[in-house]
Symmetry: none
Subunit: 225 residues, 2 copies
């Protein structure tokens, strides 16, 4: 309906891809959004004309206004996810898709109501920070490799490297996808595998696999659900 929605979808993608530390280009956005490259190309031109971003050497950079807009969209998205999880018990793996579907229909005002009802949360159930209203939210946590995660903590997966397609396919088959979370159980000694739990199942991951996984260690106070 409104042209806003499409713009916002792309702004959010830019914000998120940037947050993964990946270069923000036509191709990466097309892959992220699951659309063809020309669609991205068109939209980027329009967003550039609207003064929301600039491009240099193929890289997309949000302008200050673009950043504010994108952060507001991401903020809404993460508030929706948090609300769906805490108020309606939607399981974490379903959150992203559900929130995506709802995003267009949730006004700023409604998001503010959710924020209030939730007690002004600072992180969503994936462990991603919720930008504050009116800020650029650019202090996004940079993802670190799972290798660095201490055991006994939850780890929020934001990225699975595609360097090893077969290996990453296996990880995905385990439920280790961007947006999922796993519990870091224990590290076997002498270079043994890392034991993690995903969706209640326990898996031993070799270094090869562990090195493909990036994300954020969730704050310790979070209780395992």
């Amino acid at each position: 309906m409104s042209p806003q929605n499409t713009d916002e979808r792309y702004l959010r993608a830019i914000f998120q891809v940037r947050g993964l530390g990946e270069p923000v280009t036509t191709t990466t956005l097309a892959r992220w959004l699951d659309v063809a490259a020309p669609s991205v190309s068109n939209r980027l031109r329009r967003l550039e004309d609207a003064g929301l971003l600039s491009r240099a050497e193929g890289e997309v950079r949000l302008t200050q206004e673009g950043n504010l807009r994108a952060a507001a969209v991401v903020r809404r998205h993460r508030l929706i996810e948090t609300f769906l999880h805490r108020a309606l018990g939607v399981p974490v793996p379903e959150l992203h898709e559900s929130a995506e579907a709802l995003q267009d229909g949730v006004s700023e005002q409604l998001a503010a109501r959710m924020d209030e009802a939730l007690g002004y949360p600072t992180h969503d159930p994936h462990g991603d920070p919720i930008p504050q209203a009116g800020t650029a939210g650019d202090q996004e946590a940079w993802p670190e490799p799972l290798t660095h995660a201490p055991s006994g903590r939850w780890f929020s997966v934001t990225r699975i490297s595609d360097r090893e397609p077969e290996a990453s396919a296996y990880l995905i088959s385990l439920g280790l996808v961007p947006g999922s979370r796993c519990f870091v159980a224990e590290r076997a000694p002498f270079g043994g595998p890392l034991w993690v739990e995903v969706d209640g199942a326990r898996h031993a991951l070799s270094d090869t696999l562990v090195n493909l996984i990036f994300g954020v260690v969730e704050p310790a106070r979070w209780v395992r659900r």
Copy 2:
């Protein structure tokens, strides 16, 4: 996005217009949906082809399957309204618009979660009945408009239409909410206002307002409290 959404919007309109006791025709639907007549015409043909409705003498009748589909859509809509009101404190006059915006994004499953969280409510905040899952929900006795109420009688309000958000906000501010009752004092002549008493206060209601109010005329023997 999906073609479902449009079909569902029209099915819901048919269900609701029928519920008001108005004839379900291209014109009334166009007015209700605020679209041009040909748009309705096209969609009706498609819904007819899909076996969801039939037409006789200009009147639209839902088939059994159409009825089920429509009731499911209405059910979702009213669950959303109830949820927005009870869980997030969205004021009644804003409910319809907010729910409309969300409807496309709310899956059956999510609606079921809302239903559960709300304790399986039977009516939405407008006083409209919430069809049960899997039923046609059309056996509800629909209330009659206040317009038809004789003067000197008590009228029990079960429903305030959400067609005119500002007008219904005013009615609510007067205390004319579902569950309230008013005394129909007198009808001023020559199309003048209808005088009603609510909570001991006397108000003159224009036709615009009166037409938004539905309920049940209380039996005459009932003594004014």
